[in-house]
């Protein structure tokens, strides 16, 4: 039985990997829905690091912030999806770059 | 201090109600159906008249002869910053509130918007709440809040219901004022911070700031300058005045009336309340600078008015000149001139408000404000011309009418501390006659041409709107004593602060004897 001691480092590394995946996704994908999902990935990576550090440092504040992030993320999704739906309804198959036409 | 203010606090928070009533009205109007403009008008009218009635009640209940704040009410808002809902009025703000209370219903009833009535009335009501709020605030942050709130409805009124260049005018108005108030906000925060540094607690409360102790002169002077710039834009003093003619010309009639009648007074009122009262030493230190600007404004505004071809622009420039008198009287730092300045604020509101109303009526009839396109109106509409004459004479400052009393007190009082400014400023009285009579001759005298032959006479409804103005013009001119009795104690109190802070300054009106001879 290989007993591996899970230290906070494990979680932080995982969070960094997930964050990187998300970041790269936002940068290289053009489908707005996918971009959204990638943003969610990044947010949750941050949440993960918060929780991990909170446990390690024995400080409840980190977990409190997570709730804030969750709420903000939810709100962001609501607004963002609304925009995306409106966009796709107008122009099926639109990509994020097509929104550039909205600049004044 | 707290105890004292609680002792005099009236059981019913009149001032809070005065601010909230129009705000509630705005919400109600906004909730009404869009298709029934006459209902929105009625509701709007109801709320402004209610506010007006409340302000008159306030006037009746106000105890004359007392210098301090009355009807105070104070609640916590952001305790850690020392900002609160602190409202109260003294003899100076009293008349500003009453003026707003009277002008709003009249402006509202006089003009009907041509489209989107609901939004129009809602914005007017928000404007009224903002204006009254500014006049009753005794807390710097609260004042700032209302001062900024005022801009938004005005912006939309000019932009939404104005004339052809309305967007340009509205933006100019907004940017100008906001630029000034940005400075003011910084100064307010700095005031609280410096006060904290000196006395160990944060407060934005005007009463605490003025009674608690003074700030170091060097920083107080800088702060005063920041405030002064904000108010100078609002007044407006030359060279910050160019937004005014544009805003006035492009604003709908009611907007012009309110703008000239009440909103410009925010600047002059602010100079007294947050200039002299808050920074007495700095006000005294910089008084010459402000008086020079004021005198320049008097002459310059009048000269520019003479050369205008648009009636509304002419009246707007005349406001620049009149407001110059007010600033002169304020910074001459005598009770007499200060009383005159406050009186002049009211009088200017009444007469210029009426002038704008009548110019609006001319526009409604002829769809032009160009002086050159109007002629001979006195022949076709003698009653209209008569009413215009009365208002014009009041604006020129003919004794027996309201315009004279304020102007005279300003000049007479200022003469004792600023003789040569007054000698020059009095020339403005000649110029006032020049531009108004010139415009009158072009518009009303002569033989009417084809386009002006069918100019309709003053309607009964219009006459009824103008009647209160006429009554105020005559009554304030002949019997201003009740007003002066209420203004004077507060003015004296504010000037006493200057005397206390500036060792070699004496308010000539507080000295018993005359100064005697030889200077």
């Amino acid at each position: 039985m290989l007993a591996v001691q899970t230290t906070p480092t494990w979680y932080l590394v995982l969070a960094a990997v997930v964050f990187a995946i998300g970041a790269v996704g936002v940068l290289i994908r053009r489908n707005p829905i996918i971009m959204f999902m990638c943003v969610e990935l990044m947010l949750n990576a941050v949440n993960l690091s918060f929780v991990a550090l909170s446990k390690a440092l024995d400080d409840i504040a980190g977990q409190t912030v997570v709730f804030f992030v969750l709420v903000v993320a939810a709100a962001e999704v609501v607004v963002g999806l609304g925009i995306v739906v409106a966009l796709l309804r107008r122009q099926p198959g639109a990509t994020a770059d097509d929104v550039a036409t909205m600049k004044g | 201090m707290l105890l004292a203010s609680e002792a005099v606090a009236s059981p019913f928070p009149l001032l809070t109600a005065l601010v909230l009533l129009p705000l509630v009205g705005a919400c109600v109007v906004a909730a009404l159906p869009r298709r029934r403009p006459e209902i929105t008008r009625l509701v709007g009218l109801l709320f402004t008249v209610g506010t007006g009635a409340l302000s008159i009640y306030l006037l009746a209940k106000f105890r004359a002869g007392e210098a301090g704040y009355q009807f105070e009410s104070k609640h916590e808002w952001i305790p850690s910053w020392g900002a609160g809902w602190h409202v109260g009025i003294d003899g100076i703000s009293l008349f500003m509130v009453v003026l707003s209370g009277i002008l709003f219903p009249l402006a509202l009833v006089a003009v009907k918007p041509h489209h989107n009535e609901k939004a129009y009335y809602a914005w007017l009501l928000v404007l009224e709440a903002g204006v009254i709020g500014s006049f009753v605030s005794l807390d710097l942050l609260l004042f700032f809040l209302f001062f900024e709130v005022v801009l938004v409805p005005m912006y939309f009124l000019i932009g939404g219901w104005g004339y052809d260049k309305r967007i340009y005018a509205a933006t100019k108005f907004f940017v100008f004022t906001v630029a000034g108030s940005a400075l003011m906000l910084v100064a307010m925060v700095a005031t609280a911070a410096l006060y904290n540094k000196e006395y160990g607690r944060y407060t934005f409360d005007l009463v605490e700031l003025t009674t608690g102790g003074s700030l170091p002169y060097r920083s107080a002077r800088l702060l005063f300058l920041a405030f002064a710039v904000a108010f100078a834009v609002k007044v407006p003093l030359v060279p910050f005045h160019t937004w005014l003619p544009d805003a006035h010309t492009q604003a709908p009639t009611a907007g012009s009336v309110i703008l000239a009648g009440v909103m410009l007074k925010l600047g002059t009122y602010g100079l007294i309340r947050f200039g002299i009262e808050l920074f007495p030493e700095a006000s005294h230190h910089y008084r010459h600078g402000l008086m020079v600007l004021a005198v320049i404004g008097i002459i310059y505004g009048a000269i520019c008015a003479t050369m205008q071809t648009d009636l509304k622009r002419l009246v707007a420039y005349s406001s620049v000149a009149h407001l110059g008198f007010i600033v002169l009287g304020t910074f001459a730092l005598t009770t007499t001139s200060g009383n005159g300045a406050v009186l002049q604020m009211v009088n200017h509101g009444v007469s210029t408000g009426a002038l704008f109303l009548m110019v609006g009526m001319i526009y409604e009839r002829r769809h032009t404000r160009q002086i050159s396109e109007l002629t001979g109106l006195q022949k076709v509409a003698p009653i209209f011309a008569g009413a215009f004459t009365l208002v014009m004479l009041s604006s020129i400052g003919v004794p027996g009418l309201n315009g004279f009393v304020g102007e005279f007190l300003i000049l007479l009082g200022s003469f004792r501390t600023a003789r040569w400014y007054v000698v020059v400023a009095t020339v403005g009285v000649i110029l006032a006659a020049l531009y108004l009579l010139w415009a009158y001759q072009c518009v009303f005298h002569g033989e009417p041409d084809e386009a002006n032959k069918t100019f309709p006479e003053l309607k009964l409804s219009e006459g009824l709107v103008l009647l209160p103005f006429a009554v105020l013009i005559v009554v304030c001119g002949i019997y201003p004593k009740p007003m002066l009795d209420r203004i004077e104690p507060s003015m004296t109190r504010i000037l006493q602060r200057v005397e206390a802070e500036v060792p070699n300054f004496v308010n000539p009106d507080s000295a018993d004897a005359t100064e005697g001879e030889g200077h």
């Binding site: 970041a23 936002v26 940068l27 053009r30 994020a96 770059d97 929104v99 550039a100 909205m102 004044g104 | 100019k172 940017v175 100008f176 005045h241 310059y300 000269i303 520019c304 003479t306 050369m307 005598t334 009770t335 007499t336 009383n339 005159g340 006195q378 022949k379 004479l393 003919v398 004794p399 027996g400 004279f404 009393v405 007190l409 007479l412 003469f415 004792r416 003789r419 000698v423 009095t426 020339v427 009285v429 000649i430 006659a433 009579l437 001759q441 009303f444 005298h445 002569g446 033989e447 002949i478 019997y479 201003p480 002066l484 009795d485 004077e488 000539p508 009106d509 005359t514 001879e517 030889g518």
Partner: protein, 631 residues
């Protein structure tokens, strides 16, 4: 009894209010009757006040009635009060008296005018204002009346406002008067600063405590005000133009009452002038110059009213000559007699204009005495009075002024004498051109429309009655102040409490006085004789140089200055406001926009570019922190 003094101005005010409310409904002639009744009852009250005052001891003839406090501010308190003393009641007497007569006259003169009731509304308002002016107990109440009469004068000059010249003349009068008002206001500021009070009685008692500079400033600025209202050099330009108004207005406002307000004001300020006699000299010089100047202009005018207008300016100059010489009684005396005969002549000229169907050019008149006998006879009495022929009223008052001027300086006296000669000359010229000589109107008859048989006619009795009354007064008015013994100097005794202590009493002997009177009479007779030989006998060509007809071009120069460089200055200022001040504002706005247009190119709108920017920025920050060793 004296506490009813407020009724004197209140009655015309009541008339004004009534006419304002129901004037058009009353129509013609009832609105005129109402106005006349108000003026007449005001006169009645004034007479009662006069006797009430007469019943008091001379030194107690001062009564102040305060109605209410008008303006209390700081340590200024101005009461809305009236001062009844010999001076103010004298003024009020002739203002209401002559005012009533002119109201009566105007009922006839304004017959058929569509704005009949409005005319009387203004007229009553004017009488009210004028009474406020003379009865005010302090300078500010006087100023109320002062501006009030100016405003009414504006209304009445531009009464026929569809005529451009009338509208312009009204405006000119108001603005020029305002220049004078500026002086009055500054004088009040000086007075208040020095004495802390604007009351006349206070001023009179404390004037001696004024320093020389303050007193000089007060007197000088007051005189600027007086020069504006009383049409003295250099502010006289509005009065000739004011003849655009209806003739009763010219008679009432621009001859008898309003224009004398300046003389009244300076008499009120006699106590101040007493402190600084130098300013008195200035006033006397300005007065003498104005008198001479206006008289020279009058000799070449052809408009019947213009002659009288310049004559009025000249006579007002006389009054200021008297004031400046310290001969206050003479000034008031001449003011009263002048009011009689000049009102008479204006009304007479109105009657002529009326009879000639609105013709004002004297070159088209002549021989009217046949057709308008009453007008002619009364006008001739007025002429004798103004020319200074004994025993008519003008002789006595003019003589008093010349006596006072002699006491000041023989040079001033000489100027006065020359003016007297010119006055007699141009008035004779006028009388001959209008009432004698050839009937020149016949040859111009066709110009008066298709009437064919154009014939001047005498005016109705309602216009003639005031003429007759005024002619009587002009003839015997000198009886007010006959110089023979102290007992016959009624006016001097009456005014003693007001100006007595400031009056400059001449030291000329009785013989000297007689000599001066002879000189004045001879001057008048020479003037009359010369004019007679030129205009009636046609022995010499007329002396009417162009430069005099155009008033020494003074008005033209002022007008072209105002219309030229003055206007340019205004235009440049307005242009600078639009281009420089506002231009700067707009430039800041535009520049901000331009900068924004450049910077906003960075904002491509591609979300992934932004994200990349954020990422790169984050990495760079990280690198920076690490390299600084923070992390």
């Amino acid at each position: 009894m004296l506490q009813m003094v407020w009724l004197i101005p209140a009655l015309p005010l009541l008339g004004f209010v009534l006419l304002l409310l129901v004037g058009p409904r009353l129509g013609e002639p009832n609105s005129g009757r109402l106005a006349t009744l108000m003026a007449a009852s005001s006169f009645g009250v004034t007479v009662a006040m006069f006797f009430a005052l007469l019943n008091r001891e001379p030194e107690e003839r001062e009564y102040v009635k305060t109605l209410f406090t008008w303006i209390p501010a700081g340590n200024l308190t101005v009461d809305f009060g009236f001062l009844a003393d010999p001076l103010s009641i004298t003024m009020a007497l002739f203002v209401t008296g002559i005012g009533t007569l002119i109201h009566l006259y105007a009922i006839g003169y304004m017959h058929g005018d569509p704005k009949f009731s409005k005319f009387f509304l203004y007229l009553n308002l004017f009488v009210f204002s004028m009474l406020m002016l003379v009865l005010g107990s302090n300078m500010l109440v006087t100023f109320l009346g002062w501006e009030g009469v100016g405003t009414c004068s504006y209304f009445l000059i531009s009464f026929w406002h569809t005529r451009d010249s009338a509208a312009t003349a009204g405006k000119k009068a108001f603005v020029t008067n305002r220049v004078g008002d500026w002086g009055f206001m500054v004088a009040m500021f000086f007075t208040f600063q020095a004495l802390g009070n604007l009351d006349y009685l206070h001023l009179k008692e404390n004037a001696h405590s004024l320093s020389n500079t303050t007193a000089a400033a007060i007197a000088l600025f007051l005189f600027i005000g007086a020069a504006g209202k009383s049409a003295q050099l250099p502010l006289y330009i509005w009065l000739p133009d004011a003849m655009e108004g209806p003739t009763p207005v010219s008679a009432l406002i621009h001859a008898a009452t309003m224009v004398t307000a300046g003389v009244f004001l300076m008499t009120r300020a006699a106590s101040v002038l007493h402190v600084v006699p130098e300013i008195g000299t200035v006033i006397a010089i300005v007065g003498a110059l104005t008198a001479l100047f206006a008289a020279t202009v009058a000799v070449a005018q052809n408009d019947i009213k213009k002659v009288l207008a310049y004559s009025t300016i000249s006579q007002l100059g006389y009054m200021f000559l008297a004031v400046g010489s310290g001969a206050y009684v003479a000034a008031i005396f001449h003011m009263v007699t002048h009011a009689f005969f000049k009102a008479l002549m204006f009304l007479g000229s109105g009657s002529v204009i009326h009879g000639m169907h609105n013709e004002q050019d004297m070159r088209r008149m002549g021989m009217l005495r046949k057709l308008m006998p009453v007008t002619a006879i009364t006008f001739i009495i007025g002429w004798l009075a103004i020319a200074g022929v004994p025993p008519f009223s003008g002789f006595w008052s003019k003589d008093e002024i010349l006596l006072g001027a002699w006491g000041k300086s023989p040079v001033l006296w000489a100027v006065g004498l020359v003016t007297a000669l010119l006055t007699a000359y141009y008035m004779t010229r006028q009388v001959i051109m209008v009432f004698f000589g050839d009937a020149r109107w016949e040859s111009h008859a066709e110009e008066h429309g298709a009437h064919g048989d154009f014939k001047p006619h005498e005016s109705p009795w309602i216009m003639l009655a005031p003429l007759v009354v005024l002619a009587g007064l002009a003839a015997v008015g000198g009886g007010l102040n006959l110089p023979f013994t102290h007992g016959t100097k009624l006016l001097e005794q009456w005014l003693e409490p007001v100006v007595g202590e400031f009056e400059h009493h001449s030291s000329v002997t009785a013989g000297g006085k007689f000599g001066l009177a002879i000189a004045a009479t001879v001057a008048s007779l020479i003037g009359i004789a010369v004019a007679y030989s030129i205009y009636e006998k046609k022995r010499r060509p007329a002396i009417e140089p162009e430069i005099l007809a155009r008033g020494w071009r003074y008005d033209e120069v002022i007008s072209s200055f105002m219309g030229g460089p003055g206007r340019k200055l205004f235009e440049v200022t307005a242009l600078a406001d639009a281009k420089v001040v506002d231009g700067l504002v707009n430039k800041i706005g535009n520049d901000t926009q331009d900068i924004g247009n450049i910077i906003r190119k960075i904002q491509t709108g591609y979300v992934r570019q932004y994200a990349a920017g954020i990422g790169i920025g984050a990495v760079l920050l990280l690198v920076w922190f690490v390299s600084r060793g923070v992390l």
